[in-house]
Amino acid sequence: MTESAALLELRTVTQQFGGVTALSEVDLGVPEGAIFALIGPNGAGKTTVFNLITGVYRPTAGSLWFGGAKISGKRPHEVARVGIARTFQNIRLFDNMSALENVMVGADARHDSSVVGAALGLRRHRREERDGRERGMQLLDLVGITRVAEDTAKGLSYGDQRRLEIARALATQPRLLLLDEPAAGMNPAEKEQLGVLIRKIRDIGVTVFLIEHDMGLVMQVSDRVAVLDFGQKIADDTPSAVRTDPRVIEAYLGAPADAT
């Protein structure tokens, strides 16, 4: 596979916290239009990868590239405008805002009306408000929660909150959507629906980068799977190849201690 077709690239990225190395010279390429999954045992550094991509961390060494432009060093809100959105492993909605308002915050990432424009109620501001509301409702419809649009986020069921997070992220009109363990806490039926939703998102032209523990879901939806273990990439291949990779099995099941 040619790495040049990658929408997102990590080039020999290392991330250290104090003396702890969370990621060590990791190379990753997420092909455009794919569903790409990153798996690995707890503490392998998966969420660190997302925090690096979204600008929450700056890499200790190496660089990150998106659509041919360097994104390492940008602040999180700039990364969002470049076209990368994410959900959180734990749910981090704006709890006391309505579901629709949550999505509208995401939509505002694409709006340009200024504070002065908002204060004076200029035409562009009014148009963007209308647009944000309409697009917000469409996205709530896409994830299937229009019935709770006016409810406060914290009152929603767990599954609906996960869906709302995805809608809020999509409202920023990303080219790449990062999903951090979206299936956590879901029952089998909900996981099934989530798999359908992830494919639907890919089909509307958004590349999906997924961190997930649920192997069933990963194997079902992913086009390509990378595996992290102790901050190092140990595999990066098709789902079926990864499943039989001895190093992956060793990382997950444990194996005779072998120093390297």
């Binding site: 602040r75 734990n90 308002e101 908002a118 204060a119």
Partner: protein, 384 residues
């Protein structure tokens, strides 16, 4: 300990209000404005303020406090940033009026935008380096800023030192209407002037609240890191909140100096900052009607009960402690703020934030995420 609860009468009223059709609401607004203009009447004054000139009190402290509280509410109530030095912007507006009015002899109406601009610049200068701090750290820095401005004014010859500035010109009178003659002997015209400013400030703040700006502030208050990742330029919007709050404070300062004619550093003590914070919190931060009510009470009660002069502040403190026990969300809380306080998150409630350098910020996200694995697991078991 059992919490002492009052029956919730505000909730149903605010629900009904939010369902009212727009024309009906405008009728209420018009009635409120007409009532506000009729407020200086002597018949009202004889009850509200038997010992001193009612319309003078309506201008200062009542009107000015309300204007200041509306401005501070943008910072504290909307964006959730605790500013303990808000009086600094009031002082900057006041000294701008005094200095330019005395030396350049400009008109009040020309100095007003200058005072607003000066306060906004001060807001940005204060905010740019400090808004990366969070919670209590920001509170400490702003507290220092308020004192620096007062002490500087006290020590500079330029600002008249401790004696301050006197002989500041009144605004020019308009035509021959008695309501628009501004001089030392008149008090009602100044009240009308501050009332107009209050109405303009309310319109401005309300519009912002309902726009992407208000949403951004609410998002920052609820979860700053998540807001940033969702594309909200959090730093810029916090700076805007500071600047807009400062503008309103500066306007109040210009008006105050133009009315009192002489100002000294002692007109801008830390106590005034704390009164305005109290007004915002007491009234119900985030909700304009509540904030206005809070400012009115904080300004009016001490004037009404001048007889107890020596015990005023003591009684005031006691009343506040009682309030925080009985109704911590304020007299007229906004629905959202009430919910935030009930769960102990959000702006003023969550002062425990760390210093927000990139590194610490990042580590906090990580920390939250690790324990979320457990919570997530628990919740999933609870989920049907």
């Amino acid at each position: 300990m059992r919490r002492i609860g009052l029956p919730d009468v505000i909730g149903p009223i605010s629900d009904r209000w939010s369902r009212l059709p727009t024309p009906a609401r405008y009728v209420v607004y018009v009635i409120a404005i007409v009532a506000a203009f009729a407020l200086p009447a002597d018949s009202i004054g004889s009850f509200m303020s038997p010992q001193s000139d009612w319309s003078a009190i309506l201008f200062y402290p009542i009107g000015v406090y309300i204007l200041l509280a509306i401005g501070l509410n943008v910072v504290v109530g909307q964006a959730g940033l605790l500013d303990l030095g808000y009086v600094a912007f009031f002082a900057i507006g006041g000294y701008t009026m005094g200095k330019i009015g005395l030396s350049l002899k400009w008109d009040f109406w020309v100095i007003l935008p200058c005072g607003i601009a000066a306060a906004a610049v001060a807001g940005v200068i204060l905010g740019a380096p400090t808004l990366r701090l969070r919670g209590d750290y920001l509170a400490i820095v702003t507290l220092g800023f308020g004192e620096i401005i007062r002490i500087t004014a006290n020590n500079l010859n330029f600002t008249g030192g401790p004696r301050g500035l006197s002989g500041i010109p009144n605004p020019p009178s308009v035509g021959s209407f008695s309501a628009l003659q501004f001089n030392v002997a008149t008090t009602k015209p100044f009240y009308y002037l501050v009332l107009v400013m209050i109405i303009l400030a309310i319109v401005l703040v309300k519009r912002l609240e309902r726009s992407r700006v208000g949403r951004a502030w609410a998002a920052i208050r609820e979860d700053e890191d998540a807001a940033e990742v969702m594309g909200v330029p959090t730093f810029r919007f916090k700076l805007w909140a500071f600047a807009i709050g400062a503008c309103i404070g500066g306007a109040a300062g210009v008006l105050f100096a133009a009315q009192t004619i002489s100002i000294t550093p002692e007109d801008f003590p830390f106590l005034l900052s704390s009164y305005i914070v109290v007004a915002v919190v007491l009234g119900g931060s985030g909700n304009l009607a509540g904030v206005i009510l809070g400012a009115f009470l904080v300004a009016w009660l001490p004037e009404r009960f001048r007889g107890f002069a020596d015990y005023r502040v003591l009684a005031f403190g006691g009343a506040l402690v009682l309030m925080m026990i009985v109704r911590p969300e304020g007299l007229l809380p906004s629905r959202r703020r009430r919910a935030e306080l009930a769960e102990g998150t959000g702006g003023m409630g969550s002062l425990g934030g760390g210093v927000g350098g990139a590194q610490t910020q990042a580590v906090r996200i990580e920390a939250v995420e690790t324990d979320a694995v457990q919570t997530g697991a628990v919740e999933s078991e609870a989920a049907p």
